[in-house]
Symmetry: C2
Subunit: 341 residues, 2 copies
């Protein structure tokens, strides 16, 4: 077929104007039933559907939202995206879904491309590499609505969907302490990722409050790479005075830690108790099963898009941007539960 069929083709064939075809296609009440039926019949026959680019251009609306996440292969992000998607469909919006693979460069081009008229707003969780937020500030300046979830930029004042990372880490650390750990290490993410830093401060607070020593050598930073988690764990357990508890910033890293500990024949939880974050399905599958802090990912996704659509549909609202903080839940499993303390 030479070209896609357009409204003009239909109009010519039916000997009516394009305006009438346009109205008939959208079932506008003023169109005579006969005319409408003829248009619809031919449209069906010719597989005609209005070109969205044209429609969006004239309406200056796309009803589309850009979603930018670090990596869809992370269970956490895939799961939040599912929540975003459900609500988007329910409210008649479409999603333009992109991942940055944790690269600043990708984040930049994704934001720029999508902001060229393609989307009405953004939901973003920033990449590990991102330290320059100019591309996001530009959105603000242009008046394009933006919502952060999980990984945000402190200096950008927009609605955010977060969990109480400090409190969650505090609770997780306390849990290890209650189960008899005294020398607790923290396996952190990259030091520029806010989420990791917040969890670290919750950990530190819990240690202090329990009168336990804070040993700087017990806080180690990695990215979200399995092999690096293994290496860092090995380093920790080659210390003269190795830890007897481990708070890990994510399940992904905790699994690395478990693999390393198994190889070293260090028993979990007897020799070292572990708790981590995200409660991915793998927590119930790995041996020993892994204690982890669950986040309400689906609800977080729904909230993120709700806040965004609010901005889109009430642009004049002068309210201070809301920061929604969701409750977490510590799921206790074998890796931290010591039967005999």
């Amino acid at each position: 077929m030479a070209h896609q069929v357009t409204i003009k083709d239909l109009a010519r064939h039916l000997n009516i104007s394009v305006a009438t075809v346009s109205r008939a296609m959208r079932d506008m009440p003023e169109i005579k039933a006969e005319t409408r039926d003829a248009v619809l019949k031919l449209a069906k026959e010719w597989d005609y559907q209005p070109n969205l680019l044209a429609t969006n251009l004239v309406k200056s609306r796309t009803k589309t939202i850009g979603v930018i996440v670090p990596d869809l292969a992370y269970h956490f992000f895939a799961s939040v995206v599912k929540g975003i998607e459900e609500e988007a469909i329910a409210r008649g919006y479409s999603l333009l879904l992109t991942q940055t693979s944790e690269l600043y460069e990708r984040e930049l081009t994704n934001v720029q491309n999508l902001s060229r008229g393609q989307v009405e707003g953004f939901i973003v969780s920033i990449s590990q590499e991102t330290t320059d937020f100019e591309h996001l500030k530009r959105l603000q300046r242009k008046g394009i609505p933006l919502v952060f979830f999980d990984r945000d930029a402190d200096e950008i004042d927009v609605p955010k969907v977060m969990v109480d990372n400090v409190g969650a880490a505090y609770e997780a650390t306390k849990h290890l302490i209650e189960n008899g750990s005294k020398r607790i290490a923290f396996l952190a993410g990259p030091s520029n990722v806010t989420v990791s830093n917040l969890r670290q401060s919750g950990y530190e607070q819990a240690m202090k409050d329990s009168g336990l020593a804070l040993d700087e050598t017990l806080v180690v930073h990695g990215n979200y790479n399995l092999q690096q988690a293994i290496d860092l764990t090995n380093e920790l357990f080659e210390l003269k005075n190795p830890p007897d508890g481990l708070v890990v910033v994510s399940d992904r890293l905790a699994v690395g830690a478990i693999v390393a500990l198994r190889k070293r024949n260090i028993r979990i939880p007897e020799d070292v108790a572990i708790v981590s974050f995200n409660d991915e399905p793998i927590c119930s599958i790995v041996t020993p099963t892994l204690s982890s802090v669950a986040q309400p990912t689906f609800e977080m996704g729904k909230m993120a898009i709700t806040l965004l659509i609010n901005q889109i549909e009430n642009p004049e609202s002068l309210d201070k941007p809301e920061v929604k903080v969701f409750k977490t839940e510590l799921k206790m499993r074998e890796s931290s539960l010591r039967v005999n303390k």
Copy 2:
């Protein structure tokens, strides 16, 4: 800010025509350097970027490809998508990424929306539920290029990126037989998923060729749900004559089988040897480590988009659509290796 800045705003402010602004923005050689610089300077100052909807509309090109997969939370799909993405970026194309959540309805609306001028072609892996292929045939009729990977529609003759599922399953089954299994069950996917059926026939062929009985009660069908895998495994091991080998259509299901077997205190691989498909990272993490058939996901993604771009850029080519079949590799791990047969 009231509205996004357009080419007209720049033209008016600089007292030149929109045509000149348009040319300057694209660095066309005929524009005087002075003029160009003035335009670029103001564009930068005002954060102007050409509206993509308008550009695409007039060019009748979007340089964008629709990617429709069942679920991005499946490691296999996320990984193929990464391959697609790399190559897309390298060739100057963008991706419109959507997931169907295995729902036919979503697949339908995704295909329809994107085909309204938004993309120049599709890469699709069909959902579990899909049995009606009309929406995809429509793409063909409209001359919109289409490439399948992994899960295809038999009756639609377009380029496909597959692995030799029959051969891979044959090899996997033979491997179990060589390790002493005689009564081997097959934990299949939904009976309308081609990939599952192909693997099943490879399994059956290997059984026959080895002179082993094919017992219909040992072939059970599930979807890709963990709990169902557990249930099906339990059913298999409540048979009077339970299996001593298990070929599982995917790692996701195999993990369910392992969980069920652990609970029943059935030893792996001593009592039952297991091999599955996809070689997800979890295979090296679960206890025992899981033997699995690896597919070159990244290369498959690159091939899929290469075939698609070929179609887009050489629409007149009359070649018969290619079906690229990639080699798999059986990764042998603890779940199938019996030291003493």
